[in-house]
């Protein structure tokens, strides 16, 4: 910006018919926006925060965007000197601000995930989004994905019913609704295909929990006995302990 010309109170206002190469304030401002977004994608990649927004299937977009936007920033800067530089106007400045504010939101706020508030507004999972088959549900270690899949097809539901009385261990966050009793909570995970916007809910009812021990959105590991009752799955807890939020808080379909 050292050679930016300021005339008539404006940035980068050029004199007519100038042939000297000068910084174009508008192009530099564009480079700032591109650079801010490039930095945001590098930040998501380095800190692992991309997992808070995307599934494993789509996380490749983050490094791709980081590299492309970095190259675009450098290219924009390299071509920002012009014999006809343009001044930065109020409108352009407004666009710059509007495009940088989301970068601040993504990078400045503490890392968090979709919580129990959305669990009440989102659709339950569809069985067809899982690779789990009734055969998978009937044998092997049960996961929350198996349980969710079993809640949506009659064959898998019957397969899960055959596992009644077995001991399971699930990790999820605590969600409560108006009808949830004091010694219960819904152990919940979101299932994501591409990004959090398409998240659907997978949950089991955990009973026999010490009232008041866990708050909503606390991440816990529950071990207990599973009792599938129709489409509802109940886990009679033998132990419930707080755990840190997993690096990948969402299950991938």
């Amino acid at each position: 910006m050292s050679e930016t010309v300021v005339e008539h109170g404006g940035i980068g206002v050029r004199s007519a018919h100038s042939t000297r190469q000068r910084w174009s304030a508008v192009r530099v401002a564009g480079a700032v926006v591109l650079g801010a977004w490039a930095a945001a994608f590098w930040f998501l990649l380095v800190t692992g925060r991309d997992a808070l927004y995307l599934s494993t299937r789509t996380e490749w977009v983050v490094p791709v965007a980081a590299v492309l936007l970095s190259a675009a920033t450098l290219g924009r800067l390299a071509s920002a000197r012009s014999s006809h530089p343009e001044p930065l106007g109020r409108r352009e400045l407004g666009v710059v601000v509007a495009m940088i504010v989301p970068v601040l939101v993504l990078t400045a706020l503490p890392a968090t995930t979709l919580g129990s508030y959305s669990a009440g507004t989102r659709a339950p999972v569809s069985g067809s989004r899982f690779s789990a088959t009734p055969g998978d549900v009937a044998t092997g270690e049960l996961s929350l994905v198996d349980v969710a899949a079993a809640q949506t097809t009659p064959e898998a539901e019957r397969a899960l019913a055959g596992r009644a009385g077995e001991t399971v261990t699930f990790v999820g966050f605590v969600a409560r609704y108006g009808s949830t009793l004091a010694d219960e909570f819904m152990l919940t995970r979101y299932v994501v295909s591409c990004c959090v916007a398409d998240a659907t809910v997978a949950s089991v009812r955990v009973v026999n929990v010490t009232p008041g021990r866990f708050d909503e959105n606390d991440w816990v590991e529950v071990t207990g006995t599973i009792y599938p009752i129709g489409r509802e799955v109940i886990v009679d807890a033998t132990s419930v302990g707080a755990v840190p939020r997993p690096d990948r808080p969402y299950l991938s379909a």
Binding site: V64, E92, L106, A108, G115
Partner: protein, 334 residues
């Protein structure tokens, strides 16, 4: 940076520094106050961030492809495609989407540049609408989402066929409109084309200039659309619409409106559509066909790119054609 003409009054260096200081202060305040402690704000911000983090790379890829078209495709090359017999032009443009596995956000800047480089506007629009529906990734994800159901091939084949049909119908309605009748002017492009250059600007400079311009042009409309879509996703319960699931015509309309409101990526929307088991295949198909063509974030992108009459025409034709064709499908498949 691309702007709506005419250019606004220049700002002073002091104003720029004040705005920069305000942004830094805003970042510090966000960190210190952490508004995400309020449940709905937390949901809103996570959904807003996820929509942006997923969509913006595709806008970047679209801007990259558009810049390549602008700089490396000679003027007149695409005009030759216009010499195809008219009944073949639009289906050919729609089928071209098979070669572009990009989401709907990326297809808008590509179509804009294709039209500017000589492709008939109706063909460019047909390509823009068809590409996010008929591309191989979307076909595969639709198959996976419905693979365990009796309606698997109805949904996969129906989405492909109706996606083509609706895109061609919009192209047909656009007819022989010129580029100027279709696209809003982008003053940055106009400015650059009319510069009194002493010698031709290097290709790489033009490439990066167009790449940046398209990203900035599309990016701001995407942010506006995502801001609205995230609010809808945060506050609209999925159960609110299920009471009309059994009503034939209304259920289809509701699913189209829902698709527009949710603004999902076309590569993932089949999984969400499949979760609305209360709705029949016709309504789910309407969700899958109209969603990648008309949704909240796309409408802001369209509004920034195309003239108002075009946006109205797209919305009307997409909705009517999707409604009629899915109703017929419902009748045929029972």
């Amino acid at each position: 940076m691309s702007l709506a003409a005419p250019r606004s009054r220049p700002v002073t260096t002091r104003t720029v520094l004040l705005v920069a200081a305000a942004l830094v202060l805003a970042a510090i305040s966000l960190r210190a106050l952490d508004p995400q402690r309020v449940a709905w704000i937390r949901s809103y911000i996570v959904i807003f961030g996820s929509l942006l983090v997923q969509a913006l790379p595709f806008v970047t890829l679209g801007a990259l492809a558009a810049a390549l078209v602008e700089v490396f495709v000679p003027i007149g090359t695409l005009e030759r495609l216009g010499r195809l017999p008219r009944p073949l032009q639009l289906p050919a443009a729609a089928l071209a989407g098979l070669a572009f596995p990009i989401c709907e956000c990326g297809s808008v800047p590509v179509a804009r540049r294709l039209a500017q480089r000589g492709l008939k506007p109706s063909a460019a629009v047909t390509f823009m609408l068809a590409a996010p529906v008929v591309n191989p990734v979307v076909i595969a994800s639709t198959f996976v989402a419905y693979r365990a159901r009796p309606s698997t091939w109805t949904m996969v084949g129906g989405r492909f066929a109706l996606g083509m049909l609706v895109a061609i119908a919009v192209g047909w309605v656009i007819g022989n409109r010129s580029v100027d009748e279709l696209l809003k002017p982008n003053p940055e492009d106009v400015h650059e084309r009319h510069l009194p250059v002493e010698r031709p600007e290097a290709r790489w400079r033009r490439f990066f200039s167009h790449l940046g311009n398209d990203f900035l042009f599309m990016g701001r409309y995407l942010i506006l659309g995502v801001t609205i879509a995230a609010a809808i996703q945060t506050f609209l319960p999925a159960s609110a619409l299920t009471s009309v699931a059994g009503v034939p015509v209304v259920s289809i309309v509701v699913m189209m409106v829902l698709a527009a409101a949710l603004s999902l990526c076309s590569e993932s929307d089949a999984f969400v559509a499949a979760s609305f088991v209360q709705f029949g295949p016709a309504a789910q198909l309407a969700f899958l066909v109209s969603g990648p063509m008309v949704d909240t974030k796309l409408l802001t992108l369209y509004a920034g790119t195309f003239r108002r009459g075009f946006v109205r025409a797209v919305v009307a034709v997409v909705f009517v054609t999707t409604l009629v064709s899915t109703l017929w499908l419902g009748v045929i498949t029972g």
